[in-house]
């Protein structure tokens, strides 16, 4: 198979999902006529029509709630919220309804809803389009959080999310849209983390837009890179296995440091592998500042390969 881009993989996944199941429909702001803010859904309106590729008004709360209702009513909606920052307008429906309904109803109503959104920085989109809040969503029981970082996951995770009976939030990374890779025939799950590079000196735990940065840093420090892929529920078994071998770990997370996902991963490593460690677990997160516009400042705010290398060296100092 020839190489395709992350963006093309996302589009292929949507196309396959719409073709495969009549109950699937896509709705969101500018998914149809405009072709998707990031051109992910380009061409799908022409192929599937306005009932199944449905443009919505700018009503994140309304159409995410309608997605929940449609899921309850027997459909398999894919709701696109342009960016994670905008998803905050729909937070009530995601957190107070989608995540709670099954438990609150004593197991009577599952919500087979998929919500997709762009997240993360790297394109100079400034503070209201660049934050990385997926770890924040990972706090909430009742939803699943997935973060495709490879072309294979960009293509495969959507189908797995649609097959899941519970709400799944899919976070897509504009910083990765132009990256290319090969698709494989391997089945994609939304339950496990994966080793993306073997190494012996340190375990680098990351996900999403930071994966290429961790891989780059790993070249320099002989790191083993683990892609979490799924932020809720977390699968740390491969991380613990790796730490037993490397005896050191750095968590690389584009979210802010305080109260973030990196802290959760570090705590679990401490709980499960404290005596395997030769150094405290370290982390590289975004600086605690709203994302700035200027390129050099944006770069300074984000985790970078050099910062990861420095953190690893700190463990050997």
């Amino acid at each position: 198979m020839s190489a395709i881009s992350y963006r093309e993989a996302l589009r292929l996944a949507l196309d396959e999902a719409l073709a495969k199941d009549e109950r699937v429909f896509l709705m969101g702001e500018d998914v149809g006529k405009y072709g998707g803010t990031y051109a992910v859904s380009k061409g799908l309106l022409e192929k599937y029509g306005p009932e199944r590729v449905r443009d919505t008004p700018l009503s994140e709360l309304g159409f995410v709630g309608a997605g929940i209702g449609a899921a309850l009513g027997g459909m398999r909606p894919i709701v696109e919220v342009m960016t994670v920052n905008f998803s905050l307008l729909a937070l009530d429906q995601i957190v107070n309804t989608a995540a709670l309904l099954r438990h609150m109803s004593g197991g009577q109503f599952s919500v087979p809803l998929v919500v997709r959104m762009a997240t993360g920085a790297g394109r100079q989109l400034a503070a209201q389009h660049s934050h990385s809040l997926e770890g924040w969503y990972g706090h909430i029981p009742g939803i699943k959080i997935v973060a495709p970082a490879t072309v294979g996951d960009a293509r495969g995770m959507l189908g797995a999310a649609l097959a899941d009976p519970d709400p799944v939030l899919v976070f897509e990374y504009p910083a990765l849209f132009e990256t290319k890779g090969e698709l494989s025939a391997e089945a994609i799950d939304i339950a496990s983390s994966k080793v993306r590079r073997q190494g012996s000196k340190v375990t680098l735990v990351t996900y999403g837009g930071c994966l290429p940065k961790a891989l780059k840093a790993a070249e320099e420090v002989d790191g083993e890179v683990i892609d979490l892929r799924v932020l809720r529920p977390l699968d740390l078994a491969p991380v613990i296995e790796s730490v037993k071998k490397t005896r050191r770990a750095v968590v690389v997370d584009e979210g802010w440091r305080s109260g973030g996902l990196a802290a959760e991963v570090m705590a679990r490593i401490m709980e499960q592998a404290f005596y395997e460690l030769d150094a405290p677990v370290a982390r590289v997160c975004s600086e605690e500042v709203p994302m700035p516009y200027a390129k050099h400042l944006e770069e300074a705010a984000l985790p970078q390969p050099e910062k990861i290398v420095a953190a690893v060296k700190g463990l050997y100092a």
Binding site: G65, A66, G69, L72, G73, D92, R102, H103, S105, G106
Partner: protein, 330 residues
């Protein structure tokens, strides 16, 4: 606000239907009076929002719906659940927090659910059910189902963005949904004119191009006729908004000292009480005798006694099962 005169005049419904509506209202009233008692005894805890005074709305509307329709309600939904077909046993057990409750003890008073009755809750976020109703209606439309979605909510919800977004979506997409606004004049303790620049609720829906109806929510016969029209409209034409003007006789919840309204106002509204005014009208037109009334009331009371016994005999879910319904088992 000037309190209108009590509902009066001839009830034009078939006698049998009128008696059924009366029985429905009595079932809610007796159940909730018992709930208040059980709350004082500590058998029911949490928030308990009573519907007493507003029964004509749920009674009149629910009998206008078809079995295949979807129903969404708020945290003041005991009556809606009951008349939609959730057993009083299961409702009472839920209030007790027992496993036999209609939400397995996970929901309580504010979160009654029943998949078989297509009763989607029990939503305690004001306005939270409105987008959901639009989505259920969208699913029905896409699947070419004949079902209508009926969404009950209070007038407090019209201040929420969810209301406006839902009105727009429903009208834009011509969804088969009836938005039934129970206007009891107070959002908790805030009177309508203290919170809304536009107090004509139908005007708000109409501004989205939506069809509207307004009815005296204390008159069960009028509610029923209006709800039938609304259901038919939603099924054949598109979304519709109905304002049902009603009044809550009890406090907002069991914790409310009612500092925000006069006792005299409550007493005046009680003269419009949906049960006694309807009873008097049916008696006046010789469709109801005192004996028949006592029979209906006795049956409601017996149902309550049975439900309490059921709830008392219910069991507690083992705490080991705490997390079993967070995700769907594989």
């Amino acid at each position: 606000m000037k309190v209108p005169p009590p509902p009066s005049g001839k009830v034009g419904l078939p006698a049998e239907l009128s008696l059924a509506l009366l029985a429905d209202m009595l079932r809610i009233r007796r159940m909730e009076e018992k709930c208040a008692e059980l709350y004082s005894e500590g058998k029911i805890r949490g928030f308990l929002h009573l519907y007493i005074g507003e029964e004509a709305v749920a009674a009149g509307a629910m009998r206008a719906l078809a079995p295949e329709d979807n129903v969404i309600a708020t945290y003041r939904e005991h009556g809606h659940a009951l008349l939609r077909g959730v057993s009083m046993d299961a409702i009472m057990a839920e209030m007790y927090g027992k496993r036999e409750g209609c939400s397995g003890g996970r929901g309580g008073s504010m979160h009654l659910f029943d998949a078989a009755a297509r009763f989607y809750g029990g939503n305690a976020i004001v306005g939270g059910g409105l987008p959901l109703a639009a989505g259920l209606a969208l699913a029905a439309k896409l699947q070419k189902d004949k079902r209508v979605t009926a969404c009950f909510f209070g007038e407090g919800a019209v201040a929420e963005g969810a209301f406006h977004e839902s009105m727009n979506l429903a009208q834009l997409w011509q969804l088969p949904v009836a938005y039934l606004c129970e206007n009891n004049l107070y959002a908790m303790g805030t009177a309508l004119e203290r919170s809304e620049s536009q107090t004509d609720l139908c005007a708000k829906a109409a501004s989205y191009g939506m069809a509207t109806l307004k009815v005296d929510g204390m008159d069960v016969a009028a509610v029923h006729e209006t709800a039938q029209r609304a259901r038919e409209y939603a099924a054949k034409k598109g979304p519709i908004f109905v304002e049902l003007q009603t009044y809550r006789f009890r406090a907002h919840s069991m914790f409310d000292p009612e500092l925000y309204r006069d006792k005299a106002e409550i007493e005046q509204w009680k003269t419009r009480g949906p049960i006694h005014t309807f009873t008097a009208r049916l008696k006046a037109q010789k469709q109801l005798t005192e004996e028949r009334f006592l029979e209906l009331d006795g049956a409601a009371q017996a149902e309550v006694d049975k439900a309490v016994a059921f709830a008392e005999a219910g069991t507690w879910e083992p705490a080991e099962d705490l997390t079993k319904d967070v995700y769907t088992p594989a």
